[in-house]
Amino acid sequence: MLRSPTTWLLVGQRLTIAFITLLIVSFAVFFATELLPGDVAQILLGQAATPEAVAGLREAMGLDRPAFLRFLSWLGGLATGDMGRSYVNDIEIAELVSGRLVNSLRLAGIVTAICVPVSLTLGIAAAMWRGSWFDRGVSIMTISFISVPEFMVATLAVLIFAVWLDWLPALSYGVNVDSLGAMLRAYAMPVITLSFVVCAQMIRMTRAAVIETINTPYVEMALLKGASRSRMVLVHALPNALGPIANAVALSLSYLVGGVIIVETIFNYPGVAKLMVDAVSTRDLPLIQSCAMIFCVSYLTLITLADMIAILSNPRLRQ
């Protein structure tokens, strides 16, 4: 399909907005972490440290400089890929984070690959046969999954599959993953737990978006042309529901990077979320900030992508 220059202008505008949002967020992240109680130097040196030693360490770490200057140099570092060094163990943060990020992305990728097709199919099908037993079944299922907290699902999964049935390892990390079977076993439980929650959200929102477009006069018009139910939904309703669906999917997926702390903790899965929580307990400010920025970037990327799909799928915006 032909895209006019104004389309790209619109896309460019959306990207600029995303970039500005990122700047504002980085500002907020930096100063919010500044507000955290406790002094890093004090914590690092312990209670017995003399005031002189604390002051010396503060100076050595550059903590005595004005906050705004530190913000600028931090931002400059981020832009060039230098995330700084951890206060606690003096390792490059990039090094600390990279392995964890790969783990998180791998988990998120597997969950996405399962959830998106399953949810879209179930959501669209439920909308197509609205009010049927199938639709009611899906609705009851999704509501129950949303209402059960994920730590409960995770704990039950461990209890059933690892303790009673002894089918799957209780921990995901540290087990031998050299064969495909072993890898599947290692990932099965965290993936199942996450999929429950994420799919339920996506199914509900997809169903709502499709139903909203089914109630429009142009879908009724398709009915009056003799179109079958599947044609009404797939050909007429779905293209117009694409924007809202993309947004719903993006919202659910963005949760997979940062919001999975409970799952990572229960299955002892070394992802970014767990790294950030550990960093908070040790007052490791550069690490906290970097993790927060990773979450923000992934969230923004997903939402911007969803907006672009909405723009490109709507001929009125595309003009």
């Binding site: 006069p217 009056l224 179109a227 293209p239 001929p315």
Partner: protein, 553 residues
């Protein structure tokens, strides 16, 4: 020898489930026939069941409704007896549908041509190339511009009148026996309506298809239908040839409908204490949207408007959609701040911005909006809605306010007990009366009426006009009356301003609009209003160049 009818409807009953899950019958035993090639009109007010009956000919009932009894037969199909799957065979090929709002009935995400030929694809009637060729022929027959390429556009890229004709092409492409037209010109401007009606009529004559034409407008129906069925509350009141219904209606309800159509000439009201100053004077008023307030706006809507309204007189503002009528009311009321010009109320200059106006000025100039549904807070009872301006302008409280609310309801001919109800529990006409009573609560001298009868049925709208006249006599009000409906304006106004693209092109005395108009656009607009005469459209002669100049926006 009479031929067999194409459509036979016997004792048709349609039920509906209300919000309170109660079952009601909205179509109560309707019988009628349509002969092959005949065009039958279903006439009635909103809620009379005309669209419901028309849709039942395709075996379709809107969500919440269901066909509960009787039979519908179209050609060889027993529509009511078929399963939903079997009914699909009928839709688009045997019976097809032209919707009220083509703008809403076209899928915004798909090209027009794909939607027009979709019927042939669904029913596997012909190859795609042949279907497209047939569609282009229909585009030409319906007098659409650029017939070869218009299908490549998206629905939002063509005008409303064109889209309505494209919807007709979509209905005709499957070569049906019967076409249902559901108020297909109601949403159009009068000058556009003419070309659409002409196109429909000529294509129906050429193809010899039968039609069911649903409308509330007798004058439109007179131009296209052979027979008219008058409906009320889901029952047939009268059936007759179009000529007979127009000239010799028999049923009292048909007579009532005809009476509402007859313009009642307006008699100017004598105001005893006539002050020398006009109640409203507008000089060089310009306004628009976008940009900073007070500065020249990005989109200029009103350009240099000048007029005077004498006390006790009524000024009509007419024009088509987009002419700036409503913007004029908003600029005078101060809702939209004008960037140039002055508005004087009784010789006193009004501040451009509503928030800077004196309370007394606000009180004396009130505005009534078109849609009472959105203008009245749905969560607040009528008594509170009317009580607020009483407290704000007159400091009334408690029992005194209550008494005044009852008086106000009485003024608009509503029972006082209505004050305990919510707007949602009132009929359309009642809501518009409450809307008017709220303006009256301020005790104004001038009321801006923005299309206040447009959303109402003819009979209900006529009653509102009567009420406005009575109130004028009793309270010495003046009205600035905005409408796209010329006969309404004629019924209540002394003078008329004709607007086009944000400018006043001509000022005329209302009673002599048709004879004294000199500006070509006023003439075009006035001559485009359908008349209760079956020969009107055929005899109408309009300069095609003029039509092209003023309607191709």
């Amino acid at each position: 020898m009479p031929t067999d009818p194409l459509v036979t409807v016997r004792d048709l009953r349609v039920g509906a489930i209300t919000d309170a899950s109660r079952k009601v019958e909205i179509i109560r035993g309707v019988d009628f026939d349509v002969a092959p090639g005949e065009i039958v009109a279903l006439i009635g007010e909103s809620g009379s069941g005309k669209t419901t009956i028309a849709l039942s000919l395709m075996g379709h009932a809107r969500p919440g409704c269901f066909i509960s009894g009787g039979s519908v037969r179209v050609g060889d199909f027993d529509v009511t007896g078929l399963s939903e799957r079997a009914r699909r065979e009928l839709r688009g090929t045997e019976v097809s549908y032209v919707p009220q709002s083509a703008a809403a009935a076209f899928n915004p995400a798909k090209r027009i041509i794909d939607q027009v030929v979709e019927v042939t694809k669904i029913h596997r009637l012909m190859p795609r190339a042949e279907a497209e060729e047939r569609a282009r022929e229909l585009f030409r027959a319906l007098a659409l511009p650029e017939a070869d390429s218009i299908g490549e556009r998206y629905p939002h890229q063509v005008s409303g009148g064109q889209l309505q004709r494209l919807a007709a092409a979509m209905a005709l492409v499957g070569d049906p026996q019967l076409v249902i037209f559901d108020e297909p010109t109601t949403a159009l401007d009068v000058t556009t309506q003419i070309e659409v009606l002409r196109a429909f009529r000529s294509v129906m004559e050429k193809t010899g298809m039968a039609g069911v034409y649903v409308s509330h407008d007798l004058a439109v129906v007179a131009q296209i239908a052979d027979r008219v069925i008058v409906l009320k509350n889901g029952e047939i009141q009268e059936v007759g040839a179009t000529e007979q219904i127009l000239t010799a209606p028999e049923h009292p309800y048909t007579k009532e409908l005809m009476a509402a159509f007859e313009p009642v000439p307006h008699v100017p009201v004598e105001v005893p204490h006539s002050s020398p100053k006009p109640i409203l004077e507008v000089e060089h008023l310009s306004a628009g949207y976008g940009g900073k307030p007070g500065a020249e706006p990005t989109y200029r809507i009103l350009k240099d408007i000048n007029f005077k309204l004498e006390r006790g007189r009524n000024l009509g503002v007419i024009g088509e959609s987009g002419s700036g009528k409503s913007t004029l009311a908003r600029a005078v009321a101060g809702i939209l701040q004008p960037y140039e010009g002055a508005v004087q109320l009784d010789g006193e200059e009004l501040k451009p911005d509503l928030h800077e106006r004196r309370k007394d000025h606000l009180r004396r100039l009130q505005i009534v909006f078109q849609l009472a549904d959105t203008a009245l807070n749905p969560a607040v009872p009528v008594g509170t809605i009317l009580g607020r301006p009483l407290t704000f302008y007159h400091g009334m409280k408690g029992e005194r306010r209550e008494r005044r609310v009852i008086e106000l309801l009485d003024m608009v001919q509503l029972p006082g007990a209505l004050r305990h109800r919510l707007p949602g529990e009132l009929s359309g006409g009642q809501k518009q009366r409450v809307n008017l009573a709220r303006a009256l609560a301020a005790e104004p001298e001038l009321i801006l009426c923005d299309e206040i009868t447009s959303a109402l049925d003819t009979v209900v709208g006529a009653a509102i006009l009567e009420l406005l006249k009575d109130l004028q006599k009793d309270l010495g009000l003046s009205y600035l009356f905005i409408s796209h409906d010329l006969s309404t304006v004629e019924a209540i106004c002394d003078d008329v301003l004709v607007m086009l693209n944000g400018e006043v092109v001509e000022a005329l005395p209302a009673q002599k609009m048709s004879t004294e108009a000199t500006h070509p656009y006023s003439k075009l607009l006035i001559s485009s209003v359908p008349k209760l005469d079956t020969a009107w459209l055929s005899g109408l002669e309009q300069d095609p160049e003029l039509v092209a100049r003023f309607t191709n926006r």
